[in-house]
Symmetry: C2
Subunit: 304 residues, 2 copies
């Protein structure tokens, strides 16, 4: 397998991309190659400095970088020789099997959207994450910010995507799928949630997935109620950032436990985009080498 | 001042209401009276068991109780002799100066809505809470679930309510007001947030309040960006329940620090309803005696 990595994306690129790739060599399959997209002279120097000449790390030379604050659609069109655009070209032409970046989420989304099949049943892709719970079981949460103002039917699509992901990648049989809401009853919530509940209930009765009803946020991290939790990208993104904020408060205060350790973005390894035709993973903008290494492992698992 | 307390509301009523009222006697002003609304024989027995015969605790006899799972509007109409309905009657006729309950939030809302002036500028009341931050400063967050599917103008009203509250009750001069969103830029967010941003920016320029722009959830508990954070009740309620869930996970794991101690609902003392013409405070359904005591202190402060 060939895993493409945007070596220029993220706050600490390209140094951490090179170091992370070298770290990952020991943990990925022996026939997996890491393909770094980026400025070749810089990347070669960094690889030499690390004393790495493994044939399992290749470089595809690119010139430009799409910055975090650029308009994603415009930048994607204009910077045709940037690491993200070239990476997606390689993915579309199957020169690589998967692509991951800790750079511009917006540009990653633009690239991912272009990979969707015409007339796909899933209207909108979603960013998913696997969150820890106190029981040790994992919970899949989606969408994390790709699609705000979701139509209720889109939440139903997320339920399918999330259930499939939980089964395939986490090995959960018949995953329990819940809708994030402000109360357990079907009548609770905003217009979007009430309408999505009806669609999801019908889909559950039709056996499309195992719908267990609404989940309140207090049960999100207990894994008691659900294995897959779907929500609008606005709400999902707020939860994600809230957890990041709390994680960093705990870290500052020197407070931790196994639950919070599981929240460490460095070990979580990026968030896959579901609902597209190729494996794409988004890493954290502040990724360290360890985080990039784990992003590569996540990408390999997701691609398998 | 006369503070009315629904003695029958909450999971552990009426025992904790009586104990909490007795605990509060030492901390409230010496001329403040606590008026308990509830079944008189039971309340008298409980007061006697505690050896309390203070003239500063009075009983207003009521018969019914509105349960947590009842339809609030119907129950409010039908149970005219319930502790919450009679409490609001006393508040409307100024026999008490403030009212608080750890019972049905829905019924409290119905009562509160009836207290609004005709043609009030504020279209919808909001539930506010004061959350701790790592700097020790407090942050006002609203709405916590009263109004889901907020019109953008309603978020602007919340900004006014929150700023007024921060100034009056927390002593913050010119409080910084922010809109909870998924990015800092004005173009970020869902339709509601983007539209609210424009209204709030205009209000800020007109000097209605000190609008500092969008705040991301990662900065909610740092007090670096804002003193007042406004959001839709759907999002606010999810944040509230998420924090409760995390608080309880930390508690189970024996993990704590001063930040998380500040999250303890027992010490936080309930959430005031803003945007109505009388002081009303909602306590936590699982309130203990200590939580009821703190709810009474919050209510007294809010009423002053």
């Amino acid at each position: 397998m060939r895993i493409g990595i945007d070596a220029m994306g993220g706050d600490f690129a390209p140094e951490v991309a090179v170091k992370g790739a070298i770290m990952a060599l020991d943990d990925i399959a022996s026939d997996t190659t890491i393909v770094l997209f980026g400025e070749p002279t810089i990347l070669e120097t960094l690889l030499n400095n690390e004393g790495c000449n493994s044939p399992r790390i290749e470089i595809v030379p690119t010139e430009d970088v799409i910055e975090m604050d650029e308009h994603a659609v415009k930048a994607f069109r204009q910077k045709s020789n940037s690491s993200i655009v070239v990476g997606f070209q390689h993915l579309a032409t199957k020169k690589i099997d998967a692509f991951a970046s800790a750079g511009s989420t917006g540009a990653m989304m633009v690239g991912a959207m272009q990979l969707r099949s015409e007339g796909a049943e899933i209207e909108r892709p979603a960013i998913a994450t696997v969150i820890p719970s106190i029981t040790g079981a994992s919970v899949v949460l989606l969408d994390l910010g790709l699609n705000v103002d979701c139509k209720p039917a889109v939440l139903h699509h997320y339920a399918k995507l999330g259930a499939e992901f939980a089964t395939r990648e986490l090995g959960v049989k018949r995953p329990r799928v819940a809708l994030l809401n402000i109360g357990k009853e079907a009548t609770k919530g905003n217009l979007q949630a009430r309408s999505a509940y009806k669609i999801m209930q019908g889909a559950g009765e039709d056996g499309e997935y195992n719908f267990v009803g609404n989940i309140e946020a207090s049960y999100l991290f207990t894994a008691e109620v659900a294995d897959v939790v779907v929500c609008d990208g606005f709400v999902g993104n707020i939860i994600l950032k809230l957890m990041e904020g709390l994680y960093s408060i705990n870290r500052k205060c020197g407070t931790t436990n196994t639950f919070w350790e599981g929240m460490d973005y460095e070990v979580r390894g990026g968030s896959p985009i579901l609902g597209i035709d190729a494996p794409v993973v988004i890493g954290h903008g502040r990724s360290t080498a360890k985080a990039i290494c784990n992003m590569i492992l996540t990408t390999e698992r997701h691609a398998r």
